[in-house]
Structure formats: structure tokens, C-alpha cells
């Protein structure tokens, strides 16, 4: 049994397509397998951060330091050096070698190149974004048809009003045309804004901050409508790298929808709750309302471009699509639950490890 194991161990060391290096507490590489040598070249006397990342000092949030201290195994996704103009990514397992005296003289770092996987991830995100834009263009037809109908209507009223000498009809028609012009303008503006796509300006943000701002924004409006709005923000929620303006836009959209759903409802007490929480490595925003809720048909179509159940002029239907786009740009997802007559909950989930990286991180990587 032991012979077989030794045999396998040796084979693994030499043949496995994983780079294995052994470092001491000073981060010096003391041993490495042939795969490592093939990938990173000469390693004798060099430091792991130098070889893996091209850095001159160890990483800011060094996992190995922690493992040397507590003896726990760790797994990290890391950005490597830039090779042939391509940013490399690797997955590294850090396993401590603990001596009989309880001391940790070495850590084994096993790393696999996942640049290919990361590329696929990015391509998928890009494909999703393009699909959303494509859907939008298709959905544009509906919005335009409604606008054209409005204009045809206005013109008919004006023309027949003139023809029949009916001043009331003429005036009504003219009012309709003015309204159509206004709607056309805002429709085009909103669509252009959506199609333009801002590059998210990412910074370290307290996730509760945009929530507080949106609450302040809608507080008075809600009160005037007889709707109670409150926040439920997790106190110690860690900061995140996000586009603050983008998140603000998403929350405005969700809260505005929630308020509209409450307005249409006949219930005496209507509530909207905006909350933040950290759940299993994910940052979560939730907007819950006990308004009219959505029936099956509406739930099916809710993210379709320009779909809106709201009375015309109250929503172009672009809001949720914009929210979805911004959330996707952060590597997150939008989900919802709804019961007709009871209310809805909309959830924005941002896995921490998919949030964008700052320019600072990029700079550290290719020092």
C-alpha cells in the first residue's frame, strides 16, 4: 500500500499539470516541481510573489502569512503576471506542512492556471450584455408603435376637428400631440442613455450609503402617498468595490417600482422595506413591498424590454433592464419573488469574489 502511495506521490510531483512550490516563512521558494520550473523558469532563491506575480514585496492581503500563523489551508483566486499582453489568472491552494512540534516550517503552494476559464467568464458576461442590448432593440418596436399610435391619434383629432369645425376636438388633438412630443423626447433620451453604457467608475463604497441616499430621496414622496417606507441595514457590512452611481440608480428603480405597486393597491397599510445584508460571501440588497404583487403573466415578462404594466407616462419599462445591466456589470444577479395581491421582493446579489477590481489592484499585479 505504502509503495503504491509513494509511487503515486512521486508521479504526481513530476507529472501533474499543477505548479507546486514550497515556501518558507520568508516567502523564499525552497522546492518546486518540474511543472513549476517549466512555467516560471528558474526559481532557486527567488520569492514566491516575485515569481508568481512579478512583485517586489509580498501581496497586500497575503494568504500565506495567515496560513503560517494559523495553520489553516486556504484557497485563492489570484491575478498573475501579464504574459503576451494577456492578464493571467490562477487558482492557488495553500497547504501548511506542520511539524511534530506544531511549528510550520513550510507551506506548499499548488496552483493551476485558470486564465482560460476567466476568459470564458468575461466572454459570457459580454455575451449577456450584448443579448440584453439585442433584446432592447427588438423591444424598441413596441415602444415606437405606441408612440406612433399616439401621434396618429393626435393628428386625426386635429384634422377632423378642422374639417368639422369642431374646436374642442382640435384642441384635444393638439394637446395629444404635445404630450406625444414630450414622451418621444424622454423615450429617446432614456434609450440613448441605456445604449451608451457607462463604464462603471469603481471605488470602495460603504454598501449602506446608496441605500441611505435612496431612502432620503423617497421618504417624503412615500409619506405623501400614505405609504410607509423604512430601511433595515446591516451595521457591520464590509465595504465593496462598486460604481456608487450605478447602485444608486438600481435602488431608485426598485424603490420607485415598489412605491408604484403600493399606490395601485387598495390596502390600508402599505409598506416598502429597503435592506442590506451579507450572506455567505455575497452582498445582498432587498426591496420588499406589500403592494399589488405580480400575476404569472407579468412575472414572465418583467425583464422584457419596455414592458410596463404602469399607466403610460409612468414607466417606459426600461428601469428593470437598466438595473439588470448595472448589476451584471458588477458580476451580480437580480432575482425576485412575487405573489399577486400580497406583494413582491426584489433582490440584488453581488458575490464578493465577482465584484470589480480597482485600478490599484491592477497596478499591484503587474508591478
Amino acid at each position: 500500500m505504502e509503495d503504491i502511495r509513494n509511487w503515486v506521490s512521486t508521479k504526481l510531483w513530476y507529472e501533474v499539470p499543477i505548479s507546486i512550490s514550497v515556501i518558507d516563512p520568508a516567502f523564499r521558494i525552497v522546492e518546486a516541481n518540474p511543472h513549476f520550473a517549466r512555467n516560471y523558469g528558474d526559481w532557486q532563491g527567488r520569492f514566491c510573489y516575485e515569481v508568481y506575480k512579478g512583485l517586489s514585496a509580498h501581496c497586500k492581503d497575503c494568504a500565506a502569512t495567515k496560513t503560517f500563523a494559523d495553520g489553516l489551508m486556504r484557497e485563492r483566486e489570484e491575478q498573475g503576471a501579464v504574459r503576451d499582453g494577456q492578464q493571467t489568472h490562477y487558482l492557488v491552494h495553500m497547504v501548511p506542512l506542520i511539524g511534530r512540534d506544531g511549528k510550520i516550517p513550510y507551506i506548499v503552494e499548488m496552483s493551476t492556471d485558470i486564465t482560460g476559464v476567466k476568459l470564458l467568464e468575461q466572454e459570457k458576461l459580454e455575451a449577456e450584455r450584448l443579448a440584453a442590448v439585442g433584446q432592447t432593440v427588438a423591444g424598441l418596436a413596441h415602444g415606437v408603435k405606441n408612440l406612433l399610435m399616439g401621434i396618429d391619434g393626435g393628428m386625426y383629432m386635429v384634422e377632423s376637428g378642422i374639417e368639422k369645425g369642431n374646436a374642442d376636438r382640435l384642441v384635444s388633438g393638439w394637446e395629444m400631440l404635445k404630450e406625444d412630443m414630450a414622451r418621444m423626447t424622454s423615450f429617446v433620451k432614456e434609450f440613448l442613455e441605456f445604449a451608451k453604457g457607462r463604464t462603471p467608475e469603481v471605488q470602495l463604497v460603504d454598501p449602506n450609503q446608496p441605500a441611505r441616499e435612496v431612502f432620503a430621496l423617497f421618504h417624503e414622496t412615500a409619506r405623501l402617498k400614505g405609504i410607509e417606507i423604512r430601511t433595515n441595514l446591516q451595521d457591520d457590512i464590509p465595504e465593496a468595490l462598486m460604481d456608487q452611481e450605478g447602485i444608486h440608480t438600481c435602488l431608485v428603480n426598485l424603490v420607485s417600482n415598489a412605491l408604484d405597486a403600493c399606490e395601485v393597491s387598495d390596502k390600508p397599510n402599505r409598506n416598502v422595506v429597503l435592506s442590506t445584508s451579507e450572506q455567505e460571501g455575497k452582498l445582498v440588497y432587498e426591496v420588499a413591498d406589500d403592494g399589488v404583487g405580480m400575476d404569472y403573466e407579468v412575472r414572465k415578462k418583467i425583464f422584457s424590454s419596455f414592458f410596463s404594466t404602469k399607466a403610460t407616462g409612468k414607466g417606459t419599462g426600461l428601469g428593470l433592464l437598466t438595473t439588470k445591466k448595472i448589476v451584471q456589470e458588477h458580476g451580480g444577479s437580480v432575482s425576485f419573488d412575487s405573489t399577486e395581491g400580497a406583494g413582491s421582493v426584489f433582490r440584488l446579489t453581488f458575490p464578493r469574489d465577482r465584484l470589480p477590481r480597482t485600478a490599484e489592484d491592477e497596478a499591484n499585479a503587474d508591478h
Binding site: 418596436a141 399616439g150 386625426y156 395629444m176 399607466a311 403610460t312
Partner: protein, 174 residues
């Protein structure tokens, strides 16, 4: 022969401007018109007084056109009211399948039971007249042909010709 003056059309659309427009078009054709802003209101009005025809939008808050049609189907008398669907969604992913469902499940019968927005007022009126067995007056048919001919000529007319035509029309009015 059926007369427009004896018929009441119920126009259902969530947009007030569309209701106003279609009402004007139908009244000009001699019909009596009632309006409703959503499926709930429409049902109430039908319960109070059964219309001869329903012009229906599909996507509305509170109760959609689809829902309304399914409810009407349950009542023997109501299921026989002829319906014209006026929708912006016939060609979109959104509406195509639902429209197909409605047409397939024979909730309504007969060809040409939907029109796509923006609707041509003449086509709209004609569809309803035909469904109700109201003969287009010869006048209307002639007027339509003449109008079409005039429109074609207008396309290629020179500014002088246009000015002359305008003068002629104005004179005719007086």
C-alpha cells in the same frame, strides 16, 4: 340592414389618448361608444349593459386583455360578443405567443380579429362594420378610393399644383 346608430362599441385601452382617438373615429362613423381603462372596469360595464362589440387592448394594468377574454368566455351571452384586438404586441416576443394562444383556442372566431398599432382609422372602422354586418355606405367606399387617389397625386405634385389643389378644396368647403 344593420345601422351603426343602433350599435354600442366598448373601447378598452389603458391610455386615455387612445380611448379618445378611437372614440372620435367610431363616433364619426355613427357608432355609440363606451370606454373602459382596464379589464376590471370593462367587466363592470359589460355586466351593466352588454355592448355589441368590444375593441380591446391586451397589455393593461389590473386585468389584461387576455384575462378579460377568458372571463367573457365563461358567460354564454358575453362569449358571443365580437372582439377586435388592437395591440402593439402582435410581432413581439411579448405578444406573439399570447396572441396565438387566443386565436388558436378559439376564444374569438373569425379572421382579421386583431389589428396592430398604429391603426389606420379607416381599416379600424371597416373591420368593425364588417363584423357587425353594417354595409359601408357607397359614399364611404368612394371617399376612400378618391382619398387614396388624391394622396398618390399629392406625392408627385409640384408646389404650384399643390397650391391650386389647396385653393380648390378650400373653395369647395365654402
Amino acid at each position: 340592414m344593420e345601422r351603426a346608430e343602433d350599435k354600442t362599441i366598448l373601447v378598452v385601452d389603458d391610455e386615455p389618448n387612445v380611448r379618445q382617438y378611437l372614440t372620435a373615429v367610431l363616433q364619426d362613423a355613427g357608432f355609440n361608444v363606451a370606454t373602459a381603462a382596464d379589464g376590471v372596469e370593462a367587466l363592470e360595464m359589460i355586466k351593466r349593459s352588454v355592448p355589441d362589440f368590444i375593441s380591446l387592448d391586451l397589455i393593461m394594468p389590473k386585468k389584461s386583455g387576455h384575462k378579460l377574454l377568458h372571463e367573457l368566455r365563461r358567460n354564454k351571452q358575453w362569449s358571443r360578443i365580437p372582439v377586435l384586438i388592437v395591440t402593439a404586441h402582435a410581432q413581439t416576443e411579448l405578444g406573439k405567443r399570447d396572441l396565438q394562444d387566443l386565436l388558436d383556442s378559439r376564444v374569438m372566431s373569425g379572421p382579421g380579429t386583431y389589428l396592430e398599432k398604429p391603426v389606420n382609422p379607416l381599416t379600424y372602422v371597416r373591420s368593425i362594420q364588417r363584423a357587425l354586418g353594417i354595409e359601408e355606405t357607397r359614399e364611404t367606399a368612394d371617399k376612400i378610393t378618391l382619398k387614396e387617389q388624391l394622396q398618390k397625386s399629392l406625392q408627385d405634385a409640384s408646389p404650384e399644383a399643390l397650391r391650386d389643389a389647396l385653393e380648390a378644396l378650400r373653395k369647395k368647403k365654402d
